[in-house]
């Protein structure tokens, strides 16, 4: 079917894509720079068309627990917030991960720590990819770099969330949330009528009770469960790595960047090449699972890598682990809500590797 062309903000695209993907429920609480998501959904009022529930909760904590409840019933449910609000949700997120429930959490990242700034940042990488809440768990983390991907990744997130019974986070940032670009929207999907076999929707006489919990007081059973999670994460590492490459074939230096920084670095690659420096870009699309193997392979053919993030240097740790000492790896990034410019990246590339 023909996809509809619109000019939209990243936040609006997430909201419209959620309606079209047949999401059952959105529970959220406003915070800049992602408030357009709930505003758009409230105005669209999909309860009257698809039957999707849109609810402004009394707090972020309430919203994530509504997601927990909806997900336990086998529904396609989601929430969104920005950094300080995502911190508030962490208890709920670890419970959802521990209860092995599918859902989508959108984080339109702003600068921190604390209330920080409302401008874009990528300083929630550790929180998103290494757990965030307590206990040994991982979210599947997708990093959109365009308004189009803000839309496309909604459907993809639910597909992955239900395939692995695991919460998925879309790690965006204030720039992608606020900017407008062309977006091709998928046709309206019907909301799914199938109820997963694990859902707690009332016990029929044909099966045992379904129990959704993250609590097991027996250490032996809990360890078996932890092992099951690790096996699941390893399967995800094996099957779900996604990345995009830009001019890496003959590259001598690789920039590694995701989201807004990847867009900036694409221009940096062009600038560097116009100055005779063979640069390329690897853009992780999944941050968990991280494209470790591909980065390790590339490290065998290049002279160095530069991780570019709007943070003090978080993803660079995963790049270092992937490169495993083969070539030098550096970090460059602006903080506090300042977006790195393409020219700055080229200057750093030159000063670190070429001595200019």
């Amino acid at each position: 079917m023909e996809r509809e062309l619109r000019l939209m903000k990243g936040n609006e695209a997430v909201a419209e894509a959620a309606i079209r993907a047949g999401v059952d429920g959105y529970f959220g609480y406003p915070i800049t720079p992602q408030t357009e998501i709930i505003e758009y959904l409230m105005e669209a009022n999909p309860a009257e068309t698809t039957g999707m529930v849109v609810l402004q909760a009394e707090s972020e904590v309430a919203a994530i627990n509504m997601v927990y409840g909806g997900a336990a019933c086998g529904k396609r449910v989601m929430t969104s917030s920005s950094s300080p609000g995502i911190s508030l949700k962490q208890e709920g997120i670890t419970y959802i991960a521990g209860a092995e429930l599918p859902c989508l959490i959108v984080n339109v990242v702003r600068g921190g720590p604390g209330l920080g700034t409302i401008q874009p940042a990528q300083s929630d990488y550790f929180q998103a990819t290494k757990g965030g809440g307590h206990g040994d768990y991982h979210l599947i983390v997708l990093a959109p770099a365009s308004v189009q991907e803000m839309a496309d990744f909604v459907d993809l997130s639910f597909e992955l969330a239900f395939r692995y019974r695991n919460p998925v986070m879309m790690l965006s940032d204030g720039a992608i949330g606020q900017m407008m670009e062309k977006v091709y929207l998928s046709p309206q999907k019907e909301r799914s009528k199938t109820v997963p076999e694990w859902a707690t929707t009332g016990k029929p006489s044909t099966r045992e009770r379904n129990i959704i919990t993250s609590l097991d007081l027996d250490p032996n059973r809990q360890e078996v469960f932890n092992q099951k999670l690790i096996d699941k994460y390893n399967e995800i590492r094996e099957k779900e790595v996604r990345f995009e490459e830009f001019q890496v074939d003959d590259a001598e230096y690789i920039l590694v960047a995701y989201g807004t920084s990847a867009r900036v670095c694409q221009k940096s690659v062009q600038l560097a090449r116009s100055q005779g420096i063979k640069a390329g870009l690897l853009r992780p699309i999944t941050l968990f699972p991280f494209p470790t193997q591909r980065i390790n392979e590339l490290a065998g053919h290049v002279k160095g890598m530069l991780s570019v993030e709007m943070s003090a240097g978080q993803m660079v740790e995963d790049v270092l682990l992937s490169v495993n000492g083969k070539v030098p790896v550096y970090h460059f990034g602006r903080m506090g809500g300042i977006v790195t410019t393409p020219e700055e990246v080229v200057e750093v590339l030159k000063s670190k590797f070429i001595g200019g």
Binding site: L7, A175, E181, Q266, P342
Partner: protein, 185 residues
């Protein structure tokens, strides 16, 4: 072709919506576009700006610091962005309220006194469309018919009665923009 533009002025002057009309018009002409606003406290009564990129190719970075064209609508924005224009680039400004005029010699400068013209036309709100008309005279990257299509797409239907007035404003902008200085390179 890639045109990198910054539009800057007071919040409420229609800076963001002028950018939006440009972006929509670009879409109508099958181009790639990005619209990146400044957002946050500075929008509420202070200065507002938006970066619009219109290109025949996929747009890499939507956030840039150097522009082909700067459309400047108040003194603070002129002070802030005069040095962000590429050598040989273009500055378009409305002289209303400007006490320190642009000083760079390596850019081409145009003046479009849209505030004055809009009040003469008895319609202060079409001020930004007059400026847009002026810009399109200098850089005809989008055809006026596509701007009208863009307006139809971006304005709610209840405002469609304002489109003929906007069309007049675009044409008026084309007429009143004047070159102040040619770039000396």
């Amino acid at each position: 072709m890639t045109e990198e533009i910054i539009i800057a002025g007071f919040g409420g002057q229609g800076v963001l919506s002028m950018g939006k009309i440009m972006a929509y018009s670009g879409v109508m002409q099958d181009m790639e576009v990005s619209w990146m606003p400044s957002y946050g406290p500075e929008m509420r009564g202070g200065t507002a700006n938006v970066i619009v990129i219109i290109s025949t190719e996929r747009i890499s970075s939507p956030i840039i610091r150097h522009f082909d064209t700067a459309i400047i609508l108040n003194q603070q924005s002129l002070d802030k962005f005069e040095n962000s224009i590429k050598t040989g680039g273009i500055l378009i400004y409305d002289g209303n309220g400007i006490t320190r005029h642009p000083e760079r010699k390596d850019i081409t400068i145009y003046r479009v006194d849209a505030t004055e013209e809009a009040s003469r036309m008895n319609s202060p709100k079409i001020f930004n469309t007059i400026v847009l008309g002026g810009f399109l005279k200098i850089k005809p990257i989008i055809r006026i018919e596509n701007v009208i299509k863009g307006l139809k797409k971006s304005l709610p239907e209840r405002y469609h009665n304002l489109i003929p007035m906007n069309e007049k404003a675009l044409i008026r902008g084309e007429e009143i923009i004047k070159e102040i200085q040619k770039a000396k390179l």
